[in-house]
């Protein structure tokens, strides 16, 4: 019986989670291998694996994977280094917020992909342009979320620190920053996920390497197996980096979960 909000046993949870993947692949195999859709439009799972293997072994696709990972992390780290301090400053000091918040809110809605033609004009089609696309896509998001989190710092903790003799400077460094560190790390984890979307878009246009380049290249050759393989690789790397990020946060901030 399904009872609302009733927890599911851990073993059952794993089985159910895997079951959907099995069903999904089975359905995919049925419509492709069974001849229900044309092979031109959708490769079957087996040829997808074969194509993927060939990509990795013969076409050095792992180099594309590495370069894409480097772009995501490079752009993401750049954005974080710039955005986190600005976000903290905006959250902590209201005049800074009043000064920057309207512009950042506006800039946040500028789609990173629409900047690509402009960024290519400014920075060419090299690595720097790819990093800039991710940077533009992430930086305003991080600033705003961090500013909101910091602005919502528990006032009673700040007051307690003042009654213990903390200075304004001490409040920012030893209350506001540590109090929000786990939330900021969680924000970065979320934005890293979005950065994966930006990198593929950046690689679809004016690029000669990377997972996105491979995908757009495969399109012209109707190699749907390769496209699907590329998409799955992105999903897997995203999942792995998410796990790693979560583990890092747990290790860095044991107090927030104890």
């Amino acid at each position: 019986m399904l009872r609302p909000l009733h927890p599911v046993a851990p073993g059952t949870r794993t089985v159910l989670g895997i079951a959907f993947f099995v069903l999904f692949v089975a359905f995919w195999a049925w419509i492709t291998l069974g001849g229900h859709v044309s092979r031109i439009f959708l490769a079957d799972p087996l040829s997808m694996l074969k194509d993927g293997w060939r990509l990795l072994v013969e076409d050095h696709f792992w180099l594309d994977i590495l370069i894409t990972i480097w772009r995501v992390f490079g752009g993401f780290v750049l954005a974080s280094i710039v955005a986190v301090p600005i976000g903290i400053a905006m959250g902590a000091w209201k005049p800074v917020e009043a000064f920057l918040e309207p512009f950042v809110s506006f800039a946040r809605y500028l789609p990173a992909s629409a900047f690509i033609p402009l960024l290519i004009l400014w920075a060419g089609i090299g690595e720097f342009e790819k990093l800039l696309v991710i940077f533009v896509g992430s930086v305003f998001q991080i600033i705003l979320i961090v500013a909101v989190k910091v602005g919502a710092t528990r006032r009673d903790l700040v007051e307690a620190a003042y009654t213990l003799g903390a200075t304004d400077n001490g409040i920012v460094k030893r209350v506001i920053m540590p109090a929000n560190a786990p939330e900021i790390a969680e924000t970065l984890r979320l934005v890293l996920g979005w950065a994966w979307t930006y990198v593929i878009v950046a690689e679809l246009i004016g690029s000669s390497s990377g997972i996105g380049y491979m995908i757009i290249n495969s399109q012209s050759r109707l190699a749907t197996g390769q496209i699907i393989f590329g998409i799955i690789v992105i999903g897997l790397i995203g999942l792995l980096s998410d796990f790693a990020f979560k583990a890092l946060n747990r290790w860095l901030f044991p107090w927030s979960l104890a």
């Binding site: 620190a161 009654t163 044991p254």
Partner: protein, 260 residues
């Protein structure tokens, strides 16, 4: 000379959305002698917490001033330790680091800090829990840590805003004895806000009763019960007589607040 002088302190909050300003506190005068344990007793919303926050320097009075050792209070500082009703331990610091927070902010050397922290860990009975995170502690243990944290600065006055309000009855009784025991041994000037009549009498050398909002001082009742006090005191005839008197005082005010 009085340790703490409250002179004509009142507080009016600006009206919300153009509404009329709300007066939380009528002008209050109060002189607190050194090493006195004063409880401020009043119904909810009578402004007793506001008064305490003004003494702490967390809020500015609309009129009047607060003098501690003859110096006017303008902002919060380590000479006025405060314990809040909500749990305000820093969750990213261990029990020992929480207790040492104030000492660290004042740049005291680490060795000295360690010694002082150890003595206060001992004082509030938290030996063995020094390296626990606040989340791992019960409510009573968290408030004991908060008391130790405020005391570690060796403040001139200790301010407590319903510190045991969120605790269950049994724990609350134990905490009262613990705090009173510390006061009996170490002597400190204490201002303790509560709405619990029994707590107000048991802890105090003087109970200040406040009226319903806007609050002002209604009566000033000395409590001459002998020290050290034991929980059995709460069932003695003298205690009951005081309790009956204060219950009557506060009941009128509570009814005015509830408008029944």
């Amino acid at each position: 000379m009085s340790k703490l002088l409250i002179e004509g302190v009142s507080r009016t909050f600006a009206g919300v959305g153009g509404g009329r300003p709300v007066r939380a506190l009528q002008p209050v005068d109060l002189a607190v002698a050194a090493n006195d344990f004063i409880t401020i007793l009043g119904p909810s919303g009578c402004g007793k917490s506001t008064l305490l926050r003004i003494v702490a320097g967390l809020e500015a009075p609309s009129t009047g001033r607060v003098l501690l050792d003859g110096k006017a209070v303008t902002r919060p500082g380590p000479d006025r330790g405060m314990v809040f009703q909500s749990y305000t331990l820093f969750p990213w610091l261990t029990v020992a680091e929480n207790i040492g927070f104030g000492l660290r902010e004042q740049g005291r050397p680490e060795r000295e800090r360690k010694e002082i922290v150890a003595s206060y860990v001992d004082l509030v009975g938290l030996k063995g829990f020094e390296n626990h995170w606040p989340k791992q502690l019960s409510g009573g243990m968290q408030q004991r840590t908060a008391i130790a944290r405020a005391l570690a600065n060796d403040p001139e006055i200790l301010l407590l805003d319903e510190p045991f309000g969120a605790l269950d009855n049994q724990t609350r009784g134990l905490m009262q004895e613990l705090l009173l025991g510390i006061w009996e041994r170490r002597k400190k000037t204490v201002l303790f806000v509560t709405h619990d009549i029994e707590e107000a009498i048991f802890m105090a050398s003087r109970v200040i009763v406040m009226t319903a909002r806007p609050g002002r001082i209604k009566s000033d009742v000395p409590v001459d019960l002998p020290h050290p006090r034991h929980y059995t005191l709460k069932t003695s005839p003298e205690f009951s007589a005081l309790k009956a008197q204060l219950t009557e005082d506060i009941r009128v005010e509570a009814m005015r607040t509830a408008q029944v």
